[in-house]
Symmetry: C2
């Protein structure tokens, strides 16, 4: 049985397409019987490069809608040497996506989906603009980080922008791209993770938190999750309960000598996705 | 496209049925478009316990033929306190399986199949009785083990009996169960791994070797494979090339606190197989 199960937003450049394939393979294998509408926002991926992905989605009963964001869109957006206009896609998706979409799940391409994600789609957002997760091992510290560095004294925490549910309907009413561009202009020297810093500085208090150990598990922090849960969140727990593993940071699991509890699992999905695309 | 791709032999008791499900899930996911005939030899599994497995195989275009080995079969077989008659099933499968089968792949239930195995089915066996793998990290030592402990001076090595291709046609002509029973009777005090010791003592010189790093990768020995291959067989290599990972020994990956490179992968397949059987 095929249900139309949810909308998913992806924003990548061509280098990252192989990782999108891996992510989608893991999503489909672990959410059998579900189908999705994928919206892929990009600046310059040639059409032929997208076609294998599009065909794969269709074979799974899903649909892929690629949108090339034209150069003149966000012409007024400030850009820097290490962040391009693409950093705004996930924050300003409500301007780029079709009007009929009410909500969409944004996913970074450096993740694996290893369990069903249907509950995440159906989260009650109330009047919040986003839902997202903190990487909670030092929650009080991350709250102070926001207060001090980013100047948002009402924020609940420092949220990771890699997995976010976007309340598009509400965002269209309330958000203002000029505010975002102004903020970046004024703070360009302080931004470390540009889009994530903007998210937290401007909207930290308008984000509904969800449990990172379920939907945005930081693959580097196995021992932290294990210890802070007093041993409850061991490997069995993670494999049974965590739906989204996020390979944050620089030591990506597709690189040759990366170590970690979940590296073999990622590399196995690399191999599975090759089979699927051959 | 469905091909009838090969025969697979499994011998288990009821406790191990969940692990058979996990093995089959991994086999099907990583060998799409293939279908198998499974022969399951057991002593006492009630029929209702086998039905979910049977239905699952059928949904995959495969077939499961369970055979209860009656008490009077091998009535003359010596048994000990830590080995039952079931230890003979894989050595004497040629007596228990239908006459029309020429060859069959025996698989222990504590394995994952993570890549295609079609080449293993088609191995040229010549006049050998079995194909199997050594766990080769100390090949010269294992050869001496056979010579000294098991008294077989012609054997090429000490073969692991967890993954074996059985040349049933040839076995029917040459093998003799009385010889096996006699050997066990005479050496019952020396047998450490009973069926494996018998295999090596009596047939070590009639076994075609295959590469354990491809088809019977010992999950405990990641560092040994890595070092003896001078770094070639790293995690990427294993995920790309190894078809069968064998979780040998006592620290099984389904137990709570087992550690190792492939434990998350195994636990992930535990979860996948739950979804499939729900």
């Amino acid at each position: 049985m095929i249900n139309r199960s949810g909308n998913i937003l992806i924003t990548v450049d061509q280098n990252y397409l192989p990782h999108v394939r891996i992510m989608l393979s893991s999503l489909f294998i672990n959410n059998p019987g579900n189908s999705y509408d994928f919206y892929l926002l990009h600046a310059d991926i040639p059409n032929p490069a997208l076609q294998p992905l599009q065909r794969y989605c269709e074979r799974q009963g899903s649909r892929l809608f690629p949108t090339k964001v034209q150069d003149h869109v966000f012409a007024e957006a400030p850009v820097g040497s290490y962040y391009s206009k693409a950093m705004y896609y996930r924050l300003l998706a409500y301007e780029l996506l079709p009007e009929h979409l009410d909500r969409i799940l944004y996913l970074d391409p450096d993740i694996l989906v290893i369990n069903p994600i249907s509950e995440l789609f159906n989260l009650d957002l109330g009047d919040k603009l986003f839902a997202a997760a903190e990487h909670t091992w030092v929650p009080s510290l991350s709250k102070y980080l926001n207060m001090l560095r980013l100047g948002n004294y009402e924020s609940e925490g420092y949220f990771n922008s890699g997995v976010m549910l976007l309340n598009l309907a509400r965002q269209r009413e309330e958000m203002d791209k000029a505010e975002i561009f102004n903020y970046v202009q004024q703070h360009c020297k302080e931004l470390i993770l540009p889009d994530q810093d903007v998210l937290n500085a401007l909207y930290g208090h308008r984000i509904m938190p969800f449990d990172d150990s379920l939907y945005n598990y930081d693959a580097r922090l196995y021992k932290i999750y294990y210890l802070t849960s007093r041993g409850e969140k061991d490997l069995s727990w993670v494999m049974e309960n965590t739906a989204i593993i996020h390979f944050c940071g620089k030591t990506k699991p597709w690189l040759k000598n990366t170590k970690g509890e979940f590296v073999a699992l990622y590399k196995h999905y690399m191999q599975l996705s090759k089979q699927i695309f051959e």
